[in-house]
């Protein structure tokens, strides 16, 4: 529960830098400068934009359903922010609802659909309604590959507890209760009999522990892009067709909250992805012989060094993930709605189902 103290200010500050980063990345990809005027290299551009947004008038369309329209941004942000409560931050600072962490996340992540529907329907605008309908269809369809890909990880790690999944992917595996005697093998194949428990680093990350998770990881990445309404799946706010999709009619602070929740969603899926696939708060550096890189860059749990190292690794991996999301956004064109659906139902879902089967078999190899 106490992780909220960390995440609420972090999301706000992160969003400011993420918007700046997004604009710079898009500019560099398109051979432009991006924001350059406010501060050195335009550093304060987002702060200036935020100040402007807060000052702007809060407009409610005359024919809108006022209650729904006003409350929708709050619901969108709340439902996404609820997802953060279960995430662990460091090796000794874990979230709430630990026993069902992943399960809760999957449930809560899809709830922002309610807010999007309220926003789209309440605004009483054709653009908003179309955007909202698309958004719901998209999020509900892509929930399935997301859930299935998360299920693959759960099959491998045998736990819904995000902190336990984190501990499994590093040299501290034996420090977690009930896992004192668990060993990590190379690629998870115990028959090879190469014990990598003390190697740590990338060798114990989930995508290395069970290479079957690499395609699962790709499926997760694609479908969470769609879940967070990011390009190339940004049909709900397709600028060229729907003005701004479901948040066409919003202005000022409420619009800022919607943007905040979009970036919050990106951070949430990135953090979850890092925890599930990329070693959570564990270091990527392995121990090589006497050079104990993994031990040096992990630190003992419950110590200041341990906390700092783990929060550093977790956040830097998540921010890298977000940078890749932005890179993808500024590379690919938007999908058509039927392409979107066929990608989800004909390609991602069957593959994810097949991969669940393979992960089950892989788990047998790991025993």
């Amino acid at each position: 529960m106490s992780t909220i103290i960390f995440f609420l200010p972090f999301i706000l500050i992160y969003t400011i830098f993420a918007v700046y980063g997004e604009r710079k990345i898009s500019a560099f990809i398109q051979d432009r400068y991006g924001p350059m005027e406010v501060g050195k290299y335009g550093w304060y551009q987002t702060v200036a934009d935020l100040l402007k947004l807060i000052q702007k008038e809060d407009i409610v369309p005359k024919k809108a359903s006022k209650k729904l329209f006003l409350i929708a941004p709050v619901i969108i942000f709340t439902s996404i922010f609820c997802g953060f409560v279960v995430l662990p931050i460091t090796s000794s600072w874990e979230g709430t609802l630990t026993q069902n962490g992943v399960y809760f996340l999957l449930a809560i992540v899809s709830l922002d659909v309610v807010g999007i529907l309220m926003a789209g329907w309440g605004a009483n605008s054709k653009y908003s309604l179309l955007g909202a309908l698309r958004s719901v269809a998209q999020i509900i369809s892509y929930e399935i590959p997301v859930t299935l890909s998360v299920l693959c990880v759960i099959m491998i790690s045998q736990s819904l507890n995000l902190q336990e999944i984190s501990y499994q992917q590093g040299i501290l595996i034996n420090a977690f209760p009930d896992m004192e005697n668990v060993k990590n093998y190379l690629f998870g194949i115990s028959a090879l009999n190469i014990d990598v428990t003390n190697w740590g680093g990338v060798f114990t990350w989930n995508i290395f522990r069970a290479p079957v998770l690499i395609p699962v990881f790709i499926i997760y990445f694609i479908s969470t892009l769609a879940e967070s309404n990011r390009a190339p799946f940004d049909l709900p706010e397709a600028e060229s067709e729907l003005v701004a999709g479901f948040h066409t009619e919003y202005s000022g602070f409420r619009w800022a909250i919607i943007m905040l929740s979009e970036y919050g969603m990106m951070l949430l899926v990135a953090l979850l992805g890092v925890i599930l696939f990329l070693g959570s708060w564990n270091t990527p550096l392995p121990n090589i012989g006497n050079i104990m890189l993994a031990n040096w860059t992990t630190g003992e749990p419950e110590t200041i060094a341990g906390n700092l190292w783990s929060v550093f690794w977790l956040l830097s991996k998540a921010l890298m993930w977000i940078a890749v999301q932005m890179w993808v956004r500024w590379t690919y064109p938007r999908l058509r709605i039927d392409q979107l659906m066929s990608l989800s139902w004909k390609y991602l879902t069957p593959f994810a189902m097949f991969l669940i089967f393979v992960s089950g078999l892989w788990r047998l190899l790991m025993i």
């Binding site: 449930a107 899809s110 529907l117 309908l133």
Partner: protein, 171 residues
């Protein structure tokens, strides 16, 4: 009264009030959102009762699945003729009678015949409830589990068949 009890009563009040709101509101859309609030607070009560798995399931299935589909359907249909969809009262006498009868039967059963075993024996749910539920589903309750799975599969195939394009009609 410690703070857990306070929160419990808070959730209880929200559940009951929003359920009453569903009864008395005319606007179907508002009723749906109130139903969502009700489900939410029920999930909260589950979590308070140390049954977070059921609480999250409540969220996932009722709020995240069924209710979103309801809202989706409603929003597509309500504004067809420019008016909000409102409920109307029919068969008031029979309705009132049936309602009272059901309410009294249910409250009788709950108050007088339900024995709150957990409360009496001061037991708590095991820490690894998920594991427990999983093992039981796969062993003692395998047949109901499989039947539910087959039912869902049938529903899925049925939906696919219904939504399939019929060639005779198109030509």
């Amino acid at each position: 009264m410690n703070w857990m009890t306070t929160i419990f009563y808070f959730f209880g009040a929200i559940t009951v009030l929003s359920a009453l709101g569903i009864l008395f509101t005319r606007n179907v859309l508002h009723a749906t959102f109130l139903l969502m609030l009700s489900f939410f607070s029920v999930a909260g009560i589950y979590v308070l009762g140390n049954a977070s798995f059921i609480g999250v399931t409540q969220l996932l299935i009722y709020v995240g699945g069924i209710l979103i589909l309801m809202v989706f359907g409603l929003m597509l249909t309500t504004k067809l003729n420019g008016k909000a969809l409102v409920t109307e009262n029919h068969n008031r006498l029979i309705g009132v009678l049936l309602g009272t009868v059901f309410f009294s039967i249910l409250s009788y059963i709950i108050i007088f015949s339900a024995n709150f075993e957990m409360l009496k024996s001061n037991k708590t749910l095991p820490e690894n409830a998920v594991e427990f539920i999983g093992i039981n589903l796969m062993s003692n309750y395998l047949i109901p589990f499989e039947i539910a799975a087959i039912l869902l599969l049938v529903a899925l195939i049925g939906a696919a068949v219904i939504s399939e394009k019929r060639k005779e009609k198109q030509e």
